[in-house]
Symmetry: C2
């Protein structure tokens, strides 16, 4: 399981479902990952955490640009993804991997196919509206919006979803911008999980 | 219908479903409301629009405070609400009003009751985590997070959902902070719709 998502809050997952009960419920009453800890300050939503970390630690303002219009385009993606890339990317991944592991049954392909169809629609809107021929969501440089998008596309891909060429090329640009080593480390957990399932 | 949500982008709804087709599809390819226009700059997500408008026009920084920790708590609610207050508040309202109006049938109470149950859970988390004995989400003063929360609680209430006392008291604090006249004007649309249905 992706222990890295909560290393920061001092909690290690042992198996799926740990996030739904105590002691994690005391860390995050929403029973969701991630939970981020900065000193005595805790943040329970990933996008809020990305904004906070970038604002506090990236003095150059690269990851969350201060220019209002550029920042707004970063925010627009981070708001949109909740019911789009996140819902269907995570939905595909969870229903292909974690749910069958937990229940000991085959994936419910009716549910998986619904997420697969929606993810196709999401990829098209992502390419046409958010990228719109730019290398990254906010323009020529990578931002926290791209970090979020990469997570959401890498998870279903790890579980067998066939990303469109434009999305794969975009992920390769994000990987290059972040650095291949760090990017691969960050995205190893879903791939490792799928490998473990196949053994 | 709530024409005010798009007055700003020069588009007036005539009936439910207008947002799903042209010419609105050209305004917002996501086929969702609102769409906000500031000069030649268009914003298609409500939370991104609230952040942008507050950052650009509220020089006092009241609505979206610059202090990183306070701002993070505003962002945390704005991120959380998508799959919680928004999903179930809007879900209750739409399934009690717009869907029956469109289809000419009675509300699907199985769907409505699911949103009703979830909205009860949302109200409890909202009170215990986001308010946690404070008057507003970010502390002692009203912010854009409270504007968003008020919309999401007022809609199901207009359609018959019985809010808990703590939520009603919170909405009254937001109403007082915004100003009774403006608040009532902003929240008139869902109430007017329900009145029109009863005629």
């Amino acid at each position: 399981m992706p222990t890295y998502v909560l290393n920061n809050a001092g909690f290690h997952f042992r198996c799926w479902g740990d996030h739904l009960k105590k002691p994690f419920e005391d860390v995050n009453p929403f029973k969701k990952v991630p939970a981020v800890q900065d000193g005595d300050f805790r943040i329970l939503e990933s996008c809020a955490a990305l904004r906070y970390i970038a604002s506090k630690y990236d003095s150059a303002g690269t990851w969350y640009p201060a220019d209002l219009k550029v920042r707004c385009k970063v925010d627009e993606y981070l708001d949109w993804q909740h019911l789009n890339t996140r819902t269907h990317g995570l939905g595909y991944f969870v229903n292909m991997t974690l749910v069958p592991m937990k229940t000991g049954t085959e994936p419910d392909m009716t549910v998986v196919q619904k997420h697969e169809e929606e993810l196709g629609r999401v990829e098209d809107l992502f390419a046409s509206y958010f990228l719109n021929d730019k290398p990254f969501i906010a323009g020529d440089t990578v931002t926290i919006a791209d970090l979020q998008a990469a997570c959401e596309f890498e998870q279903p891909q790890a579980a067998g979803y066939k990303l469109k060429t434009a999305t794969k090329e975009y992920l390769e640009r994000v990987r290059k911008a972040v650095g291949h080593g760090l990017y691969d480390e960050l995205h190893a957990a879903p791939k490792d999980l799928v490998k473990a399932m196949k053994k």
